[in-house]
Amino acid sequence: MNIFLLTLIRDLKMAFRNPSSFLNPLMFFVISISLFPIAISPDAETLMNIAPGIIWVITMLSVLLSLNSLFHYDYDNGVLEQIVISHHSLPLVLLGKTTAHWILSGLPIILLSPLLGVALFLDSKSIYILMLTLCLATPCLSLVGSIGASLVVSIKNSGMLLSLLILPLYIPILIFATSAVSQSQFNLPVNGQLYFLGSILIFSLISAPFISAVALRISME
């Protein structure tokens, strides 16, 4: 079988045998979003206005929470050494790991988002656009995040450093995604933002595995 699929299946298998590793960031996502109506106001109009921002910021933070463990575990037990010296293409193996990370962190968020959208009084069209932006942009979060995770893999407790490195790269994604959802609430066209998110996705899909492979070789030295 292809090394991409083997890595993907291995990482998913490991995660499902230790579910707290990927359930914690998801719990954080659901709990923190459901606290906003209690803390700010249960008023539909207020919540509707801030919903795109809330959902997107919390998505970003929960992906960041799970990014730290992307390579750390394999670094500590020595599997990453074997991956780096393997004759297989390193970017392909890393793409497998990143895909597994997206399936465990991004995909559940996409599936949960309609529920939380309803809780924040988003209308059906905005929920549809919200899911669309999440589908386009959560893979970018994992891909761009993998670059940062491979840069800091040899540093213990690198969560803060990782956030500092990665958050600036997340900002364009945040701007386009939230503006798409809030414009759709006023029935304005959102094609431009979606095209931008799509192009960011294609660009990061093509470049991120290669950059993180180089970064990983540097940090393994």
């Binding site: 291995r10 490991m14 230790n18 575990y73 037990n77 020595g78 010296i85 004759h87 030295e221």
Partner: protein
């Protein structure tokens, strides 16, 4: 007849120069033991030969292929300090993944390899439930599967019982009789034929 040649290798870690102008050649059938005190650069040397780290100066060739080529990576097997195991996976799942990473073996016999190192009936046990020595043995069972010619073993006998050490020693001898070569570091005595030593 294969040959691994190390030419004028120098390695620096931090401000320390670990070794410089290190050269040696190793032919098929030979075992090289690297000796030296703690911190003398044994692991660094093995990692450089494995292609994991790059040396400050010098080069490594195996039958004319450079250490960053795909052929070189297929021909070398590196087992490091860590057992390279994921605790959530069973013995056989761990071994499958490691085999896929390191060789292009079409139909490896995992059960046989685990049987040879004394892990019969542990195939589907999760690695977290095993002792340190047993974990080590999973990684070492790769030696019964791989087709790589150059074995780079960093402290392979750590945590092994005396019987386990004998099994691994005899497997290294078999490998060399078949034309392979092996570089290892260990602080324990080892009884292997054709053993050469260099000191760092």
């Amino acid at each position: 007849m294969s040959k691994l040649s190390v030419n004028n290798l120098s390695c620096q870690r931090g401000y320390n120069l670990l070794f410089k102008n290190l050269s040696f050649e190793l032919n098929s059938g030979e075992v090289l033991r690297i000796t030296g005190q703690n911190g003398s650069g044994k692991t660094s040397l093995l990692k450089i030969i494995a292609g994991l780290n790059s040396p400050e100066l010098g080069s490594i060739l195996f039958d004319q292929s450079k250490s960053n080529s795909e052929r070189y990576q297929l021909e070398t097997l590196f087992l490091g300090h860590y057992a390279a195991l994921s605790l959530e996976l069973s013995c056989i799942e761990n071994l499958e993944y490691l085999t896929n990473l390191s060789t292009e073996n079409i139909a490896p016999n995992f059960h046989n390899a685990l049987y040879k190192v004394g892990l019969k009936n542990y195939e589907h046990e999760l690695a977290r439930n095993l002792s340190a020595g047993q974990k080590r043995k999973i990684a070492l069972s790769l030696l019964f599967i791989t087709h790589s010619k150059v074995w780079l073993l960093d402290e392979p006998f750590t945590a092994l019982d005396s019987n386990g050490i004998k099994i691994i020693e005899s497997q290294i001898e078999k490998h060399c009789e078949k034309g392979g070569l092996c570089i290892l570091t260990t602080h324990q005595d080892c009884n292997i034929k054709n053993l050469r030593e260099i000191s760092l």
